[in-house]
Structures are given as C-alpha cells and as structure tokens.
C-alpha cells in the first residue's frame, strides 16, 4: 500500500464517518428525545453532558462493532443494557408518532380526547407484545 493509497483510505473513512455522525445527530435533534429527558429530570443545565454521552456511546458502539472486541463479562450485564436499549428505542418510537401528529388528529376525528391515554397504552403494550413474540417465537419458526 502506497502512502497515497493509505491517505485516500483514511480520507474516505473519515468522510463516511462524518456523514453518518451528522445524520445521527440530526435524527436525535429532530425527534427531541434529549430535551424531553432533560425536561422530565429537570437537568437542563447538564444538556452538554448528555450531548457528550450520546457522542461517546456512538464512538464506543462503532469501535466495538468494527473491532469485534470481546469483554468476557458476566452475562447478567446484558439485562440493564437491554433495558436501556429498549427505553431508548421506545422513546424514539414515541417521538416519531409525535412528529407525525398522529395523536391530535386521532383524538379529533374519533372524538376520544379523554381516552387518549388508553390508546397510548395500546401502542405501548403492542410494542412490548410484538417484540416479545418476535424474540421468543417468530425467530425460531419463520426464518
């Protein structure tokens, strides 16, 4: 590999990372998950620390998945990791329905303003049930 080739590969890798990283941040910003978390916990002043948390997570995840590093930890570490993973994806999904303006229109059209929390529960339980069904049954029988 010549020096030029190495520089070219470094440049392409860096450019690709830059594009994916900006896309990731833009996605988080549009959905407003971090502001919502600061609002829930009243920690608006720490928002910069949260930014660094998201950036550090992206770097660690990227590094680990590309290097295939292995840590040999107890398997029970996966329980809290799985829970946090789920909460994050759940918040993304909730934020997405909000961006799409699903709830106000649904409430107006069918006139259930007072029961909207029950409908919200339908979606939350549906996600849990669908996900459990997928992991426990679907992956064994339909792949």
């Amino acid at each position: 590999m010549t020096t030029l080739e190495i520089l070219l590969v470094v440049f392409v890798g860096f450019a690709g990372g830059l594009a994916v990283g900006t896309g990731f941040v833009a996605f988080l910003v549009v959905l407003g998950v971090i502001p919502r978390l600061t609002q829930l916990t009243k920690t608006m002043k720490r928002v910069h620390a949260y930014e660094w948390g998201a950036v550090a997570g992206a770097i660690v995840g990227g590094w680990m998945s590309l290097r295939h590093s292995v840590w040999h930890l107890s398997k029970y570490w996966l329980v809290p990791i799985g829970l946090l993973h789920g909460v994050f994806i759940g918040m993304l999904a909730a934020a997405l329905t909000e961006v799409l303006n699903v709830w106000p229109i649904l409430a107006k059209r069918i006139g259930v303003d007072d029961k909207i929390v029950i409908l919200l529960m339908a979606i939350a339980f549906g996600k849990v049930a669908g996900s459990l069904f997928h992991w426990l049954y679907f992956v064994d029988h339909f792949r």
């Binding site: 919502r36 609002q39 916990t41 295939h68 590093s69 292995v70 840590w71 930890l73 398997k75 029970y76 996966l78 329980v79 809290p80 990791i81 799985g82 829970l83 946090l84 993973h85 789920g86 909460v87 994050f88 994806i89 759940g90 918040m91 993304l92 999904a93 909730a94 934020a95 909000e98 303006n101 709830w103 106000p104 229109i105 107006k108 069918i110 006139g111 259930v112 909207i116 929390v117 029950i118 409908l119 919200l120 529960m121 339908a122 979606i123 939350a124 339980f125 996600k127 849990v128 049930a129 669908g130 996900s131 459990l132 069904f133 997928h134 992991w135 426990l136 679907f138 992956v139 064994d140």
Partner: protein, 207 residues
Amino acid sequence: MANTVFIKPRHRVQVKPGAVVTLGQAAQIAAPDGGLIRRLKTIPLYRIQPSDKNIVIIDMMQMIRAVLDVDSSLDLQMIGPSQTIIEVVYEKRKFSSASFVLVWLLLFVGSAMAIMNFHEDVSMQQVHRHLYEMMTGQAVDKPLLLQIPYSLGLGIGMILFFNHWFRKRINEEPSPLEVEMFNYQQSIDQYVILHENKESLRPLDDA
C-alpha cells in the same frame, strides 16, 4: 370618558343549537357604570341557525354595530382578539365501546407488527447476538437475557416520553402530547377564523 366601554371578545365560546348569542356571552365588558354593563350584556348578536353547523365566527365589527344600534353615544374601546369563535355543541354522539375496542385493537396489533418489521429491517437479531458475544465471549442463538429487558424497555420508553408519572412530582410543564393537542387546536382556530368569517372574505363577484 364617562361613556367609555371596553369590550374584549372571548377566544372560544360554546353554545347550544338554536341559542341566541348575546354580547355578554361573546365578550368581556368593562365600563364605569354597572347598569350599563348589565344592559350591554343582554344585547343579542346572533341566533344560531341549523345551517351554521359547528362553527360561527362573530366579528368585532358585528359587536360594535350591535352596541351602537342600542346607544350611539358610547365610546367603544375594543381590545384583545378581533373575533369570537362560537362553537355549537350538539348532543354528544355516544362513542360506542365496541368501536373503541376496535380502535384499541387496531393500534395494538398495528404497533406489534410495526415493531417486528422494524426488527427485521435493521437485522436486530444479529446485532443482539453480536452484542451478547462481545460482552460475554459466548455465542448464543437466542440472547433472551438481552432481548426480554429490551422488550419491556420499549414500553417504558414510550410511556416515559408522553407520560404523566413524573409530571405531578417533578414539574408542571405540559407533556408533549398536551402541547401537540394545543398546537393542533390553534391551527384549526386560525383556519376557521379566516374561512368561516364572512366579513373578512370578499369574493370577486360579491358586489
């Protein structure tokens, strides 16, 4: 100054079908003379017709005309919004429990399918297997120790985002859902103010 009357149209007023909307219903009134206020409050502005359907807009100018008809010596000071939205509330259609259950099931099954398609789309099973192997050094076919907490977390995350669990304890800010509902209502109000108000639209053929 003795004849000055301040009138502030209300934003939104609900009335029954066939009712007569009076100035006191449609607006707040302030004047030095209490008797005058009482008299002004009863001025009829508009009788709701069946053809009006849900929304009637009463323009500020209609109110001024109605007041001046009664007493043209008054000095009217109009403040606040320039119209009132009159919402005609018909007998509430009872939303049947059967259709509610149907909508509930629709959302339940739909979101279950959506999350399964999402998992397949991003090959999450493979990602979970890799993650399990990275953390523990063992390869497993079904990393359920990761996936079951993940599934429960999904529900918790959704409820957390919209929710009211913490709201009472931690702060009084409205939840994103309440803000969304408010914004939607505001947009509808803006629309009906312009489109249902015969006074502010003037088509070409209207002489």
